[in-house]
């Protein structure tokens, strides 16, 4: 054998040994747009870190939540990186299921993370997940329809004003409905929106001793307002409209006003996905009696379960995917409106982002002014604007959501819905041992 032929052989051997040493980590994530972009950039990560390989499990939010809960509660160890929200992080951290992320590399610049988001992912001052993107809620409206109706948008709209505008804009004969709001039952669907409405009407989920307050006057006023307005000025069949359906309605020109997640802004501002991109107006989420809790706060974040066998590799990955460098990478490869929003101050300071995304200021203001630790005019025992950070909340929120959807569909009155919801929430909390009386 000539010596020269050994070189490719040695090369192959070296590559094989590298591949053999590459650590594979399994990343579980939600199939929202920003995560699909992250998955698409796998090659970039693996090029920069040849010793780590990524395996993806991409699922719809609710399926993923069930899948991850099963695994982490049984210490199954199937995943090295989990995509979870601000609701799960504190609960799971308290259970000791998540790895604390206290020694992050210097260049990660933890101080650059937006404070409310950072607080939402911390437990007793320790960070347990790194934010991938964050959102609040705000109001979208059609400038052309507002001009035609002679309506002047105010700096901080109130719900009373919004209702008057929706009445004026409503024109079902021409396929335009005054206002589109979530009606699909679910703690993350209609109840995310309705919680903010109840908050701003001065209500809360639980009193200081964890007694539910769903049949309180504030809840009745807020939910009656919502049901009346939606029946009069909303699209038909609103109980099947969640975030996605409303986004489709709004971007095809069927709604005058839409109050929902700030993360929709990039898409309805994109002419290839939206017919109303040119006529799009932004405003803060409306308020009623108090600005407290009038807009929500949510973040999808990357966490490392304690059961992972590859914690170091997982940490390398999550610091990469939530870094400033990642934001720049997405901006350059996919365009600046596609960068994950709502996590870092530096993103909002970036002139390229400011230029591409005129809504950036609204989003930043909304996120920075949302305070999950103080979501209501009255004191609360929980953290969270549109949820309470206890495991029982998912079931309670979804049941209340179903009852309010039934009221919206006209199957029962608001009073009936709320007193039934109160009874069921009370039963759940009592059984869970929050109180005995």
């Amino acid at each position: 054998m000539r010596p020269i032929s050994l070189i490719p052989a040695a090369g192959v051997a070296l590559l094989t040994s590298l591949a053999a040493h590459a650590e594979t980590i399994t990343v579980a994530t939600v199939n929202n747009n920003d995560m699909i972009i992250m998955q698409g950039l796998t090659d970039e990560f693996e090029k920069a870190h040849p010793d780590i390989k990524l395996d993806w499990v991409v699922l719809e939010e609710n399926v993923l939540r069930q899948r991850l809960t099963t695994d982490i509660a049984t210490n199954g160890g199937q995943f090295d990186v989990m995509t979870i929200g601000t609701y799960e992080v504190p609960i799971w951290a308290r259970q000791g299921w998540l790895t604390a992320l206290d020694d992050l590399p210097k260049d990660y610049d933890e101080g650059d993370l937006l404070k409310p988001i950072r607080d939402g992912l911390s437990q007793k001052g320790k960070l347990y997940a790194l934010p991938f993107y964050g959102e609040s809620s705000m109001m979208y409206y059609r400038k052309d329809l507002f001009d035609k109706a002679g309506i002047q948008m105010t700096e901080q709209p109130t719900w009373k004003e919004v209702r008057g505008w929706a009445d004026k804009l409503n024109d079902p004969d021409n396929g335009v409905y005054g206002i589109c709001l979530r009606g699909k039952p679910g703690w993350g669907e209609n109840m995310a929106f309705l919680s903010t409405l109840v908050n701003t009407y001065g209500g809360r989920w639980f009193d200081e001793k964890w007694h539910p307050e769903i049949d309180s006057p504030a809840w009745k006023e807020a939910v009656s307002f919502y049901v009346d307005m939606m029946k009069k000025d909303g699209p038909p069949g609103a109980t099947s409209n969640g975030f996605n359906e409303n986004q489709a309605l709004f971007s095809s020109g069927k709604c005058g006003i839409w109050v929902d997640a700030t993360s929709a802004a990039g898409r309805i501002f994109d002419p290839s996905e939206s017919k109303v991109a040119d006529e799009l107006g932004f405003a803060p989420a409306p308020i009623a009696k108090t600005p407290k809790g009038s807009h929500w706060l949510w973040s999808w974040a990357l966490a490392i379960p304690e059961s992972s066998q590859s914690k170091d590799a997982a940490k390398t990955f999550i610091t990469w995917a939530t870094s400033k460098g990642y934001v720049d990478l997405v901006g350059e490869k996919k365009g600046w409106t596609s960068v994950p929003p709502g996590t870092r101050k530096s993103t909002y300071d970036n002139p390229k982002y400011q230029q591409a995304a005129p809504f950036a200021d609204f989003v930043l203001k909304a996120i920075e002014s949302a305070d999950p630790t103080d979501p209501s005019i009255k004191p609360v025992p929980y953290t969270g604007v549109q949820y309470a950070d206890i495991p029982e909340f998912q079931a309670i929120g979804t049941q209340v959501g179903q009852m309010i959807a039934a009221a919206l569909a006209g199957q029962q009155t608001v009073d009936q819905a709320l007193s039934a919801a109160q009874r069921s929430a009370d039963r759940t909390m009592r059984q869970a041992g929050y109180y005995k009386d």
Binding site: N31, N33, D55, T74, G76, G242, S252, E273
Partner: protein, 273 residues
Amino acid sequence: MHSSITKKLAITLLAWAIALVVFFPIFWMILTGFKTEGEAVATPPSLFFEPTLSGYHEVMARADYVKFAINSVVVSLGSTLLALLIAVPAAYSMAFLPTPRTRGTLLWMLSTKMLPPVGVLMPVYLLFRDMGLLDSLSGLIVIYMLMNLPIVVWMLYTFFKDVPKDILEAGRMDGAGTLQEVLYLLVPLTLPGIASTGLLSVILSWNEAFWSLNLTTSSAAPLTAFIASFSSPEGLFWAKLSAASTMAIAPILILGWMTQKQMVRGLTFGAVK
């Protein structure tokens, strides 16, 4: 004469109408797979449009279809073979050597199908974790086998009961042992029934989505997990989801088409004619 023709025509029309109603969602899904995301959600829906493969391109770019498809084939065939291997002797003893408890046993087996699977998710997950079966093809094969076993035993039991005992007795007179009796008499006689039972088991395993989603992550995930990764509560996804679903059902649809004669014969007439 005249009325019988009208009657035939009416029945034919009715059959076509029912077939169309049943097939329409699948037809619509296949159609939607060739639309752009915008057209897929357009109201009113467009029947005529410029077909595009962009949905398929995106699906192929995001996931390795072949890997998922191979897992589906291995798991559904493997679990079916294993189920038949266990069910044939079980059904044989129940059909030809019944005891007073046979009926109760059969009903008890079926009753396991009445429990919603999520009720046993935790214990199964823990067992699988300790046995190292999470995200493994063999684990999924075992679960699917257990899931289909009651139905397979029941179907084989009814087919075997149709076989006259005398035939088996004649075999025994000629000196056949139990194994030969089953292999050379019973199985050939009831082959159409066994085949249709097997096909049903393959189809049920192919379409099963609860266990496959919960017990696999990446290496053993079958096509149901592949489809699940394309539905989303955010953004437009109908065209991609339809394309992914079309790709996922294509193999089983073609298999069903090719074997429909056996299926219908096995399921309607009983095995021995």
